[in-house]
Symmetry: C2
Subunit: 441 residues, 2 copies
Amino acid sequence: MKINKKMLIGLHLGNGYGSQSGAWRMPGVDPMSYTSFDARVKQAQAAERGKFQFLFLPDGPGAVMTDIETEAPAFNLDVMMTLAAVARETEYIGLVATGSTTFNEPFNLARQFKALDVMSQGRAGWNAITSSGEDVAANYGRRIPSSEDRYGRAHETIQLIQSLWGSWGKDAWIHNQKTGQFANKDQILPINFQGKYVSSRGPLYIPPSEQGQPIIFHAGGSPNAHELAGRFANVVIGAAFTIEDAKAQRNIFRASAKSYGRDPDEIKYIPGLMTTIAKNRRTALDRRIKLGGDSLIQRLGYLQQMLGVALDPSRINEPISKVQLDVARPSRYDPRSANALKIAKEGWSLRDILAHGVIDYHPVIVGPGVEAADHMQAWFEAGAADGFWISPDVNADGIDAFVNEVVPILQERGLFHTEYEGKTLRENLGVTDQYGIDPRV
Amino acid sequence: MKINKKMLIGLHLGNGYGSQSGAWRMPGVDPMSYTSFDARVKQAQAAERGKFQFLFLPDGPGAVMTDIETEAPAFNLDVMMTLAAVARETEYIGLVATGSTTFNEPFNLARQFKALDVMSQGRAGWNAITSSGEDVAANYGRRIPSSEDRYGRAHETIQLIQSLWGSWGKDAWIHNQKTGQFANKDQILPINFQGKYVSSRGPLYIPPSEQGQPIIFHAGGSPNAHELAGRFANVVIGAAFTIEDAKAQRNIFRASAKSYGRDPDEIKYIPGLMTTIAKNRRTALDRRIKLGGDSLIQRLGYLQQMLGVALDPSRINEPISKVQLDVARPSRYDPRSANALKIAKEGWSLRDILAHGVIDYHPVIVGPGVEAADHMQAWFEAGAADGFWISPDVNADGIDAFVNEVVPILQERGLFHTEYEGKTLRENLGVTDQYGIDPRV
Ligand SMILES: Cc1cc2nc3c(=O)[nH]c(=O)nc-3n(C[C@H](O)[C@H](O)[C@H](O)COP(=O)(O)O)c2cc1C
Ligand SMILES: Cc1cc2nc3c(=O)[nH]c(=O)nc-3n(C[C@H](O)[C@H](O)[C@H](O)COP(=O)(O)O)c2cc1C
């Protein structure tokens, strides 16, 4: 059934250091990567070497972290400026940034994403999210609107922006020096979009890119998010801890797309995967222990809750006793608990259990490349994922580790492409080009 | 008196073609420069070769021009994305973009300009304007606010943004891998800015750049503009047709700065200059005639009004008769009229008079480099300008022409620097660094 279909892979390009909060202090890491565009470009190039389909940049400029004394902010300096830098120094990889429909003027979002699409020769994607959290809203001097208002505005904003993107027809831009015709006026139309939340006259002043216009991504899990994505998105950036959960989520998004009259295959569900890739499990665990520092052990209290047994910090280097393992039960409140118990039963010390990343934001591979490949294959073949977005522990060498150790295995197994299908993001994701204004709007 | 003081020069980086509407059709011009970031980068590099202090990008995304059939839009694709591309491929030149205080979320402006400042190692400037014109407002689904509201919001927005820029103290960012200290929390402060128009909690999550924070520019001529600039700006982008007018404007801005307790020398007044540089006047005029095409002759009707005499289109290749020149009087409604009459009296044909650019947006030099140098020296030494922003007719070769033919003369005369003073825009403009939150806010 899955024959010929390949998985999609994206790279989480975050704060320049990597997904583990200790990444900035590791040997070999430039401690100024947070503000270094060189570092970001290099990381993007590493992902392109691995034929990743896209870079994914989350965004949500909330409070500067309370632990700024020891940890870097999770944010990218500015997602659009970062991708502008990357665009000119890469050739194939897709450039996907998060842009809030709540805290941006739609016209400004439209022109920046279209400019990125043009400067990258058709590689831009927009992760359209509504933003949540009072700490983000406070930076804009506001309270966070109700879910109804956020998503009401989001539906209108995406329609408005896609209309602006399509306000020049495919062949509108003539630029014929001999005849002196710059553009065909009949193919450049105002959009006169008049919504309840947002409005714009248009047209935008930017011609189509090599893929027509940017692709819509979405990231979110609420019923409103399912609906927004089902209507507009080609890719969903997801978060799921188990195959069952991922499968259920994927099916919800596919059903939502169908309810909007779309082919379910037009929406790709891409859950996250965090990686510490090393030559064997032990080396990988030691790397995580070094990365985690003291903060690793501070999570012991939470591990107790996940397993339902008391854990003694003074025995951090010992495995959980047989007696305790017999009574341990995975907490029903945390979907990561079953995995934590499974690892505990393998006989690892408390420290090593934590070093497996059992309390991280996504499933975590701490081990050799083949373990990541197995995980990805299992999820992909179970219909739980159309691909994965990868968050390496430390970007400086973690991207290369994935590219060198995981990608070749996936390629050998026929699960991942060996060459880019084309130069645009739409070609590389298998999404059709989009020109002009969608007649359904 | 002026000894040791040098003039400042900026380049108007517009739609990628140049300031004359026919530029896109000229031989040697890439007709796709409008969407080509390569073209923009090349133009920026040409200006840097000429040691220009800064690039200036206007912005005001209004209607797509009604003459789009034959003319390129005047806008830059996106000013921030353009400068992001330029930042990584230049080393010294300042990067100044226009950003509307009316049609942007202040927090978004703050982070993009700060990101540009960081990615360019301290070369960013923000031309803070309020936007005018219903056609711009319509793209944002609104009417243009009253001048009072626009400038009320502008004062608050600049204060808010400067506070966000300064929300990390000079030494706040530690990034010491050995001690594990990422930042000094005590030097990172929320701004809690609460205005009538705009508010933000902050802090921003971006450390200072090599110049602390971006420089404020302003462009505008109304009394409200004088006040805004006097309070915040280090550079005023101006428009003046005569030395007298420029001098008067410059003095108004200086007086306004003084009224805010500032040293008048902290505000530089930079009027515009348009150029067609060629080996002699005749060659330059022929270039303008080719550039202007039919639209040149269509301006004859307006030239009549400027001179107060009837002009016969069938005699386009003849000079104005002695009889007519004797009765001609410069129109009091157009400050360009005296210059037009002066040129008419030199005996040029009607076509050549128009080809001198007598009806353009700024003073125009159509001739050899020494004429531009003379103009600039006269204005500079009369106290009418601290420098100039240059709009070449065609960017593809017009920047090089200025750099090769005008810059060396200015340097020989001791009017223009021969090397960049430093690497930051503040160093190159002679403006002091700015760290932390201005205590006057
Ligand atoms: C995998 C994933 C990634 C997300 N990335 C972002 C992001 O980059 N920026 C953001 O503001 N919200 C992000 N979100 C939050 C969602 O957009 C959404 O706000 C959240 O799921 C809460 O749902 P609600 O907004 O419908 O209430 C992400 C959510 C998920 C599941
Ligand atoms: C030389 C010059 C350059 C200007 N550049 C811009 C610009 O790039 N974008 C813009 O919206 N307005 C620009 N303006 C317009 C002014 O900001 C201002 O709106 C105009 O002078 C009208 O004044 P008012 O807004 O105070 O009514 C420019 C004005 C001048 C004189």
